[in-house]
C-alpha cells in the first residue's frame, strides 16, 4: 500500500522525507518500482514547486531545476548544448517524463545525462540550500538524504563539449557505454579537460587517467593515442545483459578515440 503526499514547495517536501519514503520526480524510476511491488518504501512525496521546472542563466552557468524534463532540455535554447544528450535518452514519451534530477539517481546502465553533467563542472543544490559537486553526490548517492532541487552547470563554448552514446538498439537503446568530454582550449592547448564515462561502473564517473593524458596538450593524433592507451585505467566495468566487462574494456578506447576525433560514426 503506497501513500502519496504532495506539497507546494520543495522545502516542505524535503521536511516530509522520512524512512521508507521516496521523493517522486518524473516517476520513470519510481512508478516502475511501485508497479513491481518494491517493498523498500511505502510513501512517496511530491512537490508542485514551479522552480523545479525552470531553466535559468546564472552568469557563465546554467541553473536547471531538478524537475526539468529531457523534453524541456531539448526545447530550451539555453540548454541547446545538452539537447543531443537528452535526445539520446528514451523515446519521446519517456523524455516527457524523465527528469534531470531523476537521472542523477538512475542505476546502471542508466544515467547518460548525469555523465554529461559530470564533465560540465556540475554542482547539485539540495532543497535545504546546501550545495555539492555532482561527482561527490554520485559517489554516495545511495546514502543521500536530502532532495536535489537543481543543478548548475558551466556553459561550454563551440564544440568543446562532446557526447557519445554507444547502444545496440537504434535509434533508442540503453548504454553499453556513454562518454562525455569537455575540452576547453587556450592557445590550441587543452585546459581543464574533463572526461566521464557512463555505464562503465556502478555510477557515472570521471576518467582521471584520460583527463591527465589530454591536459595541456593539443588535440592531435599523438595525444589521442596516448589518451586511448589509458582509456580504462583503474576502471571496473560491470558485466550485464548488454555486454561483459571484457567487451566494455575492449571498446572503450575505440569509442573514446572516435569521440576525440569527432568521428560521428556509431
Amino acid at each position: 500500500m503506497i501513500t502519496v503526499e504532495t506539497f507546494d514547495t520543495i522545502a516542505e517536501a524535503a521536511r516530509a522525507m522520512q524512512d521508507r519514503t521516496r521523493y517522486f520526480g518524473g516517476g520513470t524510476l519510481l512508478m516502475r518500482a511501485v508497479n513491481y511491488g518494491d517493498q523498500s518504501f511505502h510513501r512517496m512525496v511530491r512537490a508542485r514547486d514551479a522552480s523545479l521546472r525552470t531553466i535559468r542563466r546564472e552568469g557563465s552557468r546554467i541553473l536547471i531545476g531538478a524537475g526539468v524534463t529531457m523534453s524541456q532540455i531539448i526545447a530550451s535554447p539555453d540548454t541547446a548544448f545538452l539537447a543531443p544528450v537528452a535526445r539520446a535518452i528514451g523515446g519521446p514519451a519517456l523524455r516527457n517524463m524523465a527528469t534531470v534530477g531523476g537521472n542523477l539517481f538512475a542505476p546502471h546502465p542508466y544515467g547518460d545525462f548525469a555523465t554529461a553533467l559530470l564533465v560540465l563542472d556540475c554542482r547539485a543544490r539540495t532543497a535545504d540550500g546546501s550545495d555539492m559537486a555532482l561527482e561527490d553526490l554520485l559517489s554516495r548517492r545511495d546514502s543521500i538524504r536530502g532532495i536535489v532541487a537543481a543543478v548548475s552547470v558551466a556553459r561550454p563554448a563551440g564544440d568543446d563539449f562532446r557526447f557519445r552514446k554507444v547502444s545496440r538498439v537504434k535509434p533508442k537503446g540503453v548504454s553499453v557505454m556513454s562518454i562525455a568530454a569537455w575540452m576547453p582550449r587556450t592557445g590550441g592547448r587543452l585546459k581543464d579537460v574533463r572526461v566521464a564515462y557512463g555505464a562503465m561502473g556502478s555510477a557515472p564517473a570521471r576518467v582521471r587517467s584520460v583527463e591527465q593524458a589530454l591536459e595541456g596538450r593539443s588535440l592531435d593524433s599523438q595525444t589521442v593515442e596516448a589518451a586511448t592507451r589509458v582509456a580504462t585505467e583503474g576502471l571496473h566495468p560491470p558485466d550485464d545483459a548488454l555486454a561483459s566487462a571484457w567487451y566494455r574494456r575492449e571498446v572503450a578506447p575505440v569509442h573514446l578515440r572516435r569521440l576525440l576525433f569527432g568521428d560521428g560514426r556509431r
Binding site: A243, Y247, V254
Partner: protein, 340 residues
C-alpha cells in the same frame, strides 16, 4: 577502423502442419436468414491472420463474396475443437476443415437453388458475386440471398456444413527414426548483405534478398506481413536476443525491453522478396503456412555473412559484437573472405 562488407547465403525447408499428425481441427459453417455465412471456429488468431485467411477460404469455397462471410473465433461453447495455432498448422489444418465445412454448405446451397430454378444442381455454378446461375445460361439465375431465404423459409433446409481435418498420428521407430513427420514442406533461400566494424564487432545488416516458396499465397498481403516481420525476427534472433546472455550460466538474465535486445525501427533492413507458389496437394488451395519458417534462414545467412566479412565463424547464437570481436582477436585481425 575498417568496415568489412560480407555476404552470406542459407536455404531451408519447413515442415507444414503439426509434426507426426494426430491434431484435428474442426469448422462449422451456417447461413444467416438472408444468405450471409458465419464460420464458427475455436482457432486462435494471434496476429497471423487466422480470421482473415479462413474467411477468404470459406468465401472461395462457398462461391460467395468475402464480404458475405464472417469468421467467429474462439469460444469453446460455440466453436468446434481445434488443436491450436502452432506448428504451422493453422492454415493447413483449419483451412482444410473450413473447406470441407463450406463444401457441404455449398452443396445444400446449390440444391436449394436448383429447386427454385427447377434445374439439376449439377448444372449450377456460383459467380462469386452473390448469384447462382445455370452453367452457360447466366440469365437463369437466383441470388444467394434469395436462395437462402427460400431454403429456410419455404423449403425447410439448412445451409450449413461441418468439417474436420485430421492427419492421423504417425509413430516414430526408436531404432531407425522412421516416421511420417508431415505431408508438405515450405521452402526458402536468403542472401544477407551486412557490414562488420572490426574494432567493435558491431554488425549492420544492409540488405536481404530472399525467395520464399509458400505453396500458394492465399492472401499476398498477409504473406508479405509474415515475411517482412519474420525476417526482422530472424535478424533479431541472430544478432540480439537471448534470455540468458551467459548461457549456460543464468547470470544477468534480462527482465525488461531495455536489456532484452531487439533491433529498433532505425535498424530495419531493406528486404527484397520473391514469392514462389508450388501448391501442395493436401493443403488448402495448395497454400502452406509461411509464418513460422520465415525467420529460420536469416540466422545462418547472417552467420555466414559475418564469416565472409571478417573470417570469424560465429557458431553460437546470438552473434554479439563481443563474440565477433573475440574471434577477430583470436585470428590476429579481420580476415575478409572475398567478395561474392
Amino acid at each position: 577502423m575498417t568496415i568489412h562488407k560480407g555476404r552470406g547465403f542459407a536455404c531451408i525447408n519447413y515442415p507444414i502442419g503439426m509434426n507426426l499428425g494426430g491434431d484435428p481441427s474442426q469448422a462449422l459453417v451456417h447461413a444467416t436468414p438472408d444468405g450471409k455465412f458465419m464460420v464458427s471456429l475455436a482457432s486462435i488468431d494471434l496476429g497471423q491472420g487466422m480470421k482473415s485467411v479462413t474467411r477468404q477460404i470459406a468465401a472461395e469455397t462457398l462461391g460467395v463474396p468475402v464480404e458475405d462471410v464472417y469468421v467467429d473465433t474462439a469460444d469453446s461453447d460455440t466453436g468446434p475443437h481445434c488443436m491450436g495455432s502452432f506448428a504451422s498448422r493453422g492454415t493447413h489444418r483449419v483451412g482444410n476443415a473450413v473447406i470441407r465445412a463450406a463444401t457441404e454448405a455449398r452443396k445444400q446451397l446449390l440444391d436449394a437453388a436448383a429447386e427454385e430454378l427447377e434445374v439439376n444442381p449439377a448444372d449450377l455454378e456460383t459467380d462469386g458475386k452473390g448469384n447462382i446461375h445455370v452453367r452457360g445460361a447466366p440469365s437463369r439465375r437466383i441470388s444467394v440471398a434469395n436462395t437462402a431465404i427460400a431454403a429456410q423459409f419455404k423449403q425447410g433446409r439448412t445451409l450449413s456444413g461441418r468439417g474436420i481435418f485430421l492427419v492421423p498420428p504417425s509413430g516414430v521407430d526408436p531404432d531407425t527414426g522412421e516416421m511420417t513427420p508431415v505431408t508438405c514442406f515450405a521452402h526458402a533461400a536468403v542472401i544477407v548483405d551486412l557490414e562488420v566494424d572490426d574494432e567493435t564487432g558491431e554488425v549492420d545488416v544492409v540488405e536481404i534478398n530472399s525467395a520464399y516458396e509458400v505453396g500458394r499465397a492465399l492472401n499476398p498481403k498477409l504473406v508479405e506481413q509474415q515475411l517482412i516481420g519474420g525476417a526482422w525476427m530472424g535478424v533479431s534472433h541472430a544478432l540480439y536476443e537471448t534470455t540468458e546472455p551467459y548461457y549456460p550460466a543464468r547470470d544477468h538474465g534480462p527482465v525488461d525491453f531495455n536489456l532484452y535486445l531487439m533491433p529498433g525501427p532505425a535498424q530495419t533492413v531493406p528486404h527484397h522478396i520473391a514469392v514462389l507458389e508450388r501448391p501442395a496437394e493436401d493443403a488448402p488451395f495448395g497454400g502452406k503456412g509461411p509464418g513460422e519458417m520465415c525467420a529460420n534462414p536469416v540466422l545462418p545467412a547472417i552467420a555466414n555473412a559475418v564469416y565472409n566479412a571478417v573470417g570469424v565463424r560465429c557458431d553460437t547464437l546470438p552473434i554479439t559484437p563481443e563474440k565477433i570481436l573475440r574471434g577477430i582477436r583470436a585470428n590476429g585481425g579481420a580476415r575478409p573472405q572475398g567478395t561474392r
